[in-house]
Assembly symmetry: C2
Homo-oligomer: 444 residues x 2
């Protein structure tokens, strides 16, 4: 019997846990799920005889040591800042570890030690990062194997609301951590276009937008997603002239969201004085110039050079931003206040289904001719537990864990799924879960 330990049983763990329980008899697995909330962990186990839920505290050294010592593989679904605590303990006890998070420098530094210990630290095994890497590398490797030369790689992902349930003017609902949506893109974004490196500060992010069409879904906007440059090395495309990763939103979202960015309403670095007693309307006015002759709405219209009945103004009004609703949050940052305003309106309904959309564009040259492959993925959630986000984050992670425990993959050290021996079997099995890219190729 193999024991799998899952730490963190939040929304994005549901499909992961379900897959492992569904396959537990076949492989003779015991699945232990720890969470700060015992009831959350229990919910995910659903009384399955091979599952066990327990209350887990990452700061309880004795418990952490004991649980990891008894496991054969550990999957950390905790916030990424806690991964190093788990990794250190896995290293000490020589246990495999898997995450859906970006490899941190701390994680990378464990590569040699993990190799010596004969264990695998597999990361970036979710959707973005995760499925994006795997599906991209499959095509890139094929182009290279066929003698093609990569000219351009662009890839974008969006976690959105399924079209059928898309009923608000932002065409957006919170299908994952709201906080991450509010602070998304802070810092500088970096990419390469036709040989030129480009740096884009946060306050310009939602102004440099591309658009694309996804078959069956229609139009999307794309804004740059943090550091695309580092993936040149990860994808072994060091000299590629164009390297761009983006985030997808429905048309019009970025220009409206840009109002929040421009005004400073997404700042999470300081506390607003007297935040508890301010109204939403007063909150907005904190960021506008003093002008007793004009209303908050008029000042926004003037600042952004938009009319009072513009699309943007309609979206802002729809959020209740200009209402006299009291904030009621003590010592809150602007980002925390904005999040509260949004959470009320962008709430996923109990019958809603979410959407994961991903699109890669590969341009390459072969035998003197230029080609473009457009590869698109659309995943719709099953319900509000088995969401598209939970499925696409959890299933590749679960498959990787299975492959590792059954000896089908044999790696040690710190990895992301950019190697064929990792991405090939995972992508293959993902197809049976409807996670399959639709590929189109044209000659340019």
């Amino acid at each position: 019997m193999k024991k799998i330990l899952i730490l963190g049983a939040g929304l994005s763990s549901s499909s992961l846990i379900k897959y492992l329980l569904d396959h537990s008899n076949e492989h003779n697995w015991k699945i232990k799920v720890g969470d700060v909330s015992l009831s959350v962990a229990k919910e995910k186990i659903m009384n399955h005889p091979n599952g066990e839920a327990f209350e887990f505290d990452i700061f309880n050294e004795i418990q952490k040591e004991e649980e990891i010592k008894n496991a054969d593989a550990v999957i950390s679904m905790l916030p990424a800042r806690f991964h190093p605590l788990v990794a250190a303990c896995c290293l000490k006890n020589k246990k495999h570890m898997l995450t859906a998070s970006y490899v941190s420098d701390e994680m990378k530094a464990l590569n040699e030690e993990a190799k010596i210990a004969g264990i695998a630290f597999l990361n970036e095994l979710g959707v973005d990062p995760g499925i994006d890497h795997m599906s991209a590398m499959k095509v890139v490797d094929k182009i290279k194997a066929d003698g093609g030369k990569m000219l351009s790689f662009k890839s974008s992902t969006g976690g959105l609301i399924a079209p059928e349930y898309d009923n608000n003017p932002w065409n957006y609902k919170f299908t994952w951590n709201p906080r991450n949506v509010v602070v998304a893109g802070q810092g500088v974004s970096q990419y390469k276009q036709n040989g030129d490196i480009k740096y884009l500060p946060y306050h310009q992010l939602f102004e440099r937008i591309e658009t694309t069409t996804v078959p069956g879904l229609g139009e999307f906007e794309i804004y740059p997603n943090r550091d695309s440059l580092k993936f040149r090395a990860a994808y072994n495309l060091l000299d590629i002239p164009t390297m761009f990763r983006g985030t997808m939103r429905r048309p019009g979202y970025c220009r409206a969201w840009n109002v929040f960015v421009q005004l400073g309403m997404t700042d999470d670095t300081y506390v607003v004085e007297n935040s508890e007693n301010l109204s939403y309307r007063q909150f907005v006015n904190l960021f506008l110039n003093y002008d007793e002759k004009h209303s908050v709405e008029e000042k926004i219209a003037a600042k952004f050079n938009i009319s009072m009945d513009s699309d943007i103004m309609y979206r802002l009004k729809w959020l209740g931003l200009f209402e006299h609703t009291k904030i009621g949050l003590k010592d809150a940052t602007p980002a925390q206040i904005l999040q509260q305003i949004l959470v009320d309106k962008w709430l996923l309904g109990k019958d809603d289904k979410d959407l994961i959309v991903m699109q890669h564009q590969f341009e390459y040259e072969q035998s003197g001719k230029k080609h473009r492959i457009t590869s698109s993925l659309v995943v719709i959630g099953i319900d509000t537990v088995q969401t598209a986000m939970a499925i696409t984050v959890g299933i590749p992670l679960a498959i990787a864990c299975k492959l590792l425990l059954t000896g089908s993959i044999n790696v040690t050290g710190v990895h992301t799924p950019v190697k064929k021996e990792l991405y090939e079997p995972i992508l293959h099995e993902l197809e049976s879960y409807g996670i399959k890219f639709n590929e189109e190729e044209i000659e340019l």
Copy 2:
């Protein structure tokens, strides 16, 4: 004999050291000046018999302990991050300490211990912070003593080039630390206007500009200077409807500087790839959209909606920003590269004189009538050593040190010069150095 220890002998220490040496016979002082560069320390002593220069390393614990133990008062002109190291040692050895820097939370925390030790930690004794506090509190205290009620306090300072030597299109030269000028204003600025709190993100800072006139000098632009709100408590003006501190520049500077801020060229948080081999022109292009049909100049003109022969474009061109000059700096941040471009052009000439300009505006109500006092200070440097900056930073600090050692002021604990017993004697003596405010009062 009293011994005064000065740590840090950079440009802004020259007037401080000169004052103390000039008064050393009268008061029987010995002045020791330590700097990382022995020659810099020696220059400032100018072979004065009461002075002694030595090479000082803040990380040499033994030397620090020894020097501070032998002193009666310590003046730290080191970068502000080193003050806590000096303060801890002063506390241990029960020595007074003075700085021209903002009181940090670390410094504030030493208040009780310093009181118990019977020593004074006097801070914010330069020009801004320093003379601004003293001159403001003198007027505020008088208004209050006369039964007036403060309605508005606005105060701005500029470190600029004297009009006679002002011969470039930016009307600006580096009269102090260039790095601080490049990154000035990063973070959020906060102020209060007519009862409304206002938060201004960095990328909006140079767009929300006020203007003022200083008698004899003409027009200035003012942009908000970081956190004005905290001075409500420091100045005992907790309920004042308007509280604003600003930085002064010559007209047109802010709109042109805003180009750098908008493009992200003042960012100091990441390293530009291949910075060494890029040209100034390529550096600018890093921050502009890819567009092979338009030149760097055309893209800037389009982005900022300015014409190719506009004032802003002229200022940018004058800096050499569009030249093919090689950067030659390895692993440099955008801010470091921008600084290098500016340092070449904004260099203070050997015969140049600098300018410190400060203006307060007080509005108050008394017996049902509203009044406005405008109080302005203009200081022109003597030469490139005794600059206006060095004089206004160093002389108040030197006077405070004298008052402390002669027992004319008697305080213990951590202080800034907002109390009458501190500001009154300092301001009085500053007048003999030409540091005197010109006051005008009108009824509103």
